[in-house]
């Protein structure tokens, strides 16, 4: 279930954009009319019907994005992000829905906490937001949460994100028991005894800089373990923030064997390698870490061929003072909601590495499918979930440009191409610039 504050449904005519919905097979320069939050007409020279007209000539209108993996830091760290600020950031990034991870303080591991959150979201969320609940109490990996009741309260899925489910036996029980919920299990794959004290990818760069390495095998060995359990049980699971080539290979093998398993990758893992850590900028420190170029290339290939069905930002806001410390002391995580599309467009679409259609699908229909959400689509009769993007606009990422409460972006100082101008989420104008 998703929650958002209720405001007036939009009446709009978006005129003259390139309307591109890769799943619907739509790619045409046409007008789109939205009546009361529903797409009412797609065609040439549509009547305005007294609606506001948005001149969108030269812009791109696409299904709005879905982010299956964000951290809204609420409850507990509202100084870093709130439901209001995080969803405003999402709207500015072209998103019409986000799913928040439960590793808050306290962890979302009981129906009462989930109810409080969804109640707050219904008051303040700028776009629909869903909440994953924890797999284990306090995400400590010992005792399952009351998954049935949590699902009844609308949990979008289950995850102990931030930590692995270290015990294979508990993961197996979670997979088995979780079938009563019909909601996916989303797994942070990390073998903690292999990643212990790890600060960055283990390789030539960590050897030179002196960091304790967080080897790719720390992820892939856990991906392999979890997929083996899923295969044994013949049950679905979703692998969060893939970073290593071996993990992508393992996921592809499992899918080829017919297993209903899925994976996601973040813009930073798709665009950067461990070479970026040479700057010692704490804004390139995340878990899992940036890896070698062969890993990054495997993620891009996996996204292209569909092994990786979703782009997820893993938007992880951190207070400025917590990132203004030596790299080694900084917490893991970077923001991403407001820069995801421009980053991928600038670094992968414009250079011709990925097709625009692929990126749009993996940012919207792909994640929606994994989590059983309505697919944002540009079709008469569908709820209006669209984003209008100026792909010719260049803009510089600066600290004062964010709607997020935090500014720990790996893109600070970079000039990106592609700027969101308008986001309509669940039929409401959530962002306009």
């Amino acid at each position: 279930m998703l929650w958002a504050r209720q405001t007036a449904k939009a009446d709009l005519v978006i005129r003259g954009a390139r309307v591109l919905d890769p799943v619907e097979g739509l790619d045409a320069t046409v007008d789109v009319r939205i009546d009361g939050g529903t797409i009412a007409a797609i065609g040439h020279d549509l009547e305005a019907n007294g609606h506001r007209v948005v001149d969108a000539a030269g812009l791109l209108l696409a299904p709005a994005f879905v982010d299956p993996h964000v951290h809204l830091r609420t409850p507990g760290r509202e100084d870093e992000e709130t439901i209001a600020s995080g969803t405003a950031a999402a709207a500015a990034g072209g998103y019409c829905a986000v799913l928040a991870m439960p590793n808050t303080d306290p962890v979302v591991d009981s129906a009462s906490i989930l109810r409080a959150l969804s109640g707050a979201a219904a008051q303040e969320a700028e776009i629909p937001v869903g909440f994953l609940a924890a797999i284990s109490k306090a995400s400590e990996g010992r005792q399952l949460t009351e998954m049935g009741e949590l699902a009844d309260c609308g949990a979008a899925g289950f995850s102990d994100d931030g930590r692995p489910v270290a015990e294979a036996g508990l993961l197996r029980r979670a997979l088995q028991y979780g079938t009563i919920t019909g909601r996916p299990l989303a797994l942070h794959c990390e073998e903690p005894t292999l990643s212990r004290d790890g600060q960055m990818h283990e390789g030539a760069v960590s050897a030179e800089l002196g960091f304790t390495g967080y080897p790719s095998v720390a992820e892939s060995v856990m991906v392999e373990r979890d997929l083996a359990i899923a295969a044994y049980e013949q049950l679905p699971l979703h692998v969060l923030h893939l970073s290593a080539r071996e993990s992508v290979d393992a996921l592809a093998r499992a899918q080829n064997a017919g297993l209903p398993v899925s994976g996601e990758a973040t813009p930073h893992h798709l665009c950067l390698t461990d070479e970026a850590v040479r700057t010692l900028d704490p804004n390139v420190k995340m878990n899992p870490p940036l890896r070698a170029d062969t890993d990054r290339a495997a993620l891009v290939d996996g996204l292209r061929d569909g092994t990786i069905a979703a782009v997820a930002t893993d938007h992880a806001p951190h207070a400025r003072h917590e990132k203004e410390v030596p790299f080694e002391a900084a917490p893991f995580g970077v923001t991403g909601l407001e820069t995801a599309f421009p980053a991928l467009y600038t670094h992968l679409v414009e250079p011709g590495v990925l097709r625009l259609e692929t990126v749009l699908e993996r940012m919207s229909a792909g994640p929606a499918r994994i989590f059983g959400l309505d697919r944002p689509r540009i079709e008469v009769g569908a709820a209006a979930n669209v984003t209008l993007i100026d792909t010719n606009a260049s803009w510089r990422v600066t600290e004062d440009g964010f709607r997020s409460r935090s500014t720990n972006s790996w893109l600070l100082g970079q000039t990106l191409r592609g700027k969101v101008r308008l986001t309509v989420a669940a039929g409401r104008v959530a962002f306009e610039q």
């Binding site: 005894t193 212990r196 600060q199 283990e202 390789g203 030539a204 760069v205 960590s206 050897a207 030179e208 800089l209 002196g210 960091f211 304790t212 390495g213 080897p215 665009c271 950067l272 390698t273 070479e275 970026a276 040479r278 700057t279 010692l280 900028d281 704490p282 390139v284 170029d293 990054r296 290339a297 891009v300 290939d301 003072h321 203004e324 410390v325 030596p326 790299f327 080694e328 002391a329 900084a330 670094h347 992968l348 250079p351 011709g352 590495v353 790996w410 100082g413 970079q414």
Partner: protein, 331 residues
């Protein structure tokens, strides 16, 4: 796989002016290193005089900030600054606001209020000198940041080798011990390779960082390989490496037996170095440490003149055509 643009250049902050700081050996060219060594040599000559103090850096302020204990490095930086007539101030983490939880950034900003020309920083975390360099106007000299770099140690080691052999190019240096956790090893590998020496790392397999060969050195797990070297550089072996959950080697006893540098494992005439502090009987046999082939005391003396050269070089902004001449003029 299509061509993918490499983005690391765009991510880099703009290059600072040349050698504003000394944070890593990787920031130096061969010319830089050779100039620093030449400057250090001229300071060594000046220290043979009766009046050892030079007025060169009069009016400059050098602040030493040490977040980790240190004997050699902190004392030699302080004396180096004093020998050059700079004003010095030394702050240790214990007993300062750091004890009260002050962040490195705030401590740096507090010190910056005194307009120091140089901040010498020793810190347990990689990236600390970069942070201080970002938030202050001072030249930052890295006196050791976690497992990353200890560039002045490498420079004084080069100086020591140069004094002993008259050259560095073409020499073979074996670095023995806990390379994984050693900032000294990392700085020395880079510095020695930069000056044309051959470097072999000798360590138990878990203490050899994966990928370290990319720095241009070779590796071995066999202690016998040190016999081929001109210089055997021994690293400190720390007790905490044997703790539960981090068993890099089973015991110190087994380490000493298999990788300890003993007289039997050395070839006559081989020189032995150690950055200190030593664990006698663990990584180095006491007889080896005290033998005439040991350059360990020379290293300590070199520390003073090399650090004088580093301070001088940073504060006089770059290449000095004839450093010896310049110093004799002011002396």
């Amino acid at each position: 796989m299509a061509e993918i643009r490499v983005m690391r250049d765009e991510l880099r902050p703009p290059d600072p002016p040349a050698r504003r700081h000394l944070i890593s050996i990787a920031d130096l060219t061969r010319d830089d290193v050779e100039r620093l060594l030449a400057t250090a040599r001229s300071f060594a000559r000046s220290l043979e005089r009766e009046v050892k103090k030079l007025p060169t850096l009069r009016g400059h302020t050098v602040v030493n900030v040490f977040y980790e204990s240190s004997t050699r490095t902190s004392s030699s930086f302080e004396l180096a600054a004093k020998r050059l007539s700079a004003d010095t101030m030394s702050i240790k983490a214990a007993g300062s606001s750091v004890d009260k939880g002050e962040s490195l950034k705030d401590t740096a900003l507090t010190l910056a209020a005194y307009d120091p020309d140089v901040i010498v920083l020793r810190h347990p975390q990689i990236g600390a000198p970069q942070l201080v360099a970002r938030v202050t106007e001072a030249h930052v000299v890295n006196a050791g940041d976690g497992k990353h770099q200890h560039p002045t140690q490498a420079l004084l080691d080069l100086y020591t080798i140069q004094e002993e052999f008259g050259r560095i190019e073409g020499l073979h240096v074996a670095i023995v011990g806990d390379v994984l956790h050693s900032r000294v090893a990392r700085s020395n590998i880079q510095a020695l390779v930069l000056l044309g020496a051959r470097v072999t790392l000798v360590a138990p397999p878990p203490l050899l960082p994966r990928g370290i060969e990319a720095l241009g050195c070779s590796t071995s797990t066999e202690i016998g390989t040190i016999a081929a070297a001109d210089v055997v550089y021994v690293l400190r072996m720390q007790q905490e490496r044997m703790q539960e959950g981090t068993s890099y080697v089973p015991t110190l006893r087994e380490y000493a037996a298999r990788w300890g540098v003993t007289a039997e494992r050395l070839r006559p005439g081989q020189k032995v170095m150690h950055p200190g502090p030593m664990n006698r009987g663990v990584e180095i046999d006491p007889a080896v440490a005290d033998a005439p082939e040991s350059l360990i005391e020379t290293q300590v003396r070199a520390g003073l003149v090399v650090r004088m050269a580093v301070l001088y070089d940073l504060l006089t902004h770059g290449p000095v055509a004839a450093p010896a001449l310049a110093i004799h003029e002011v002396a």
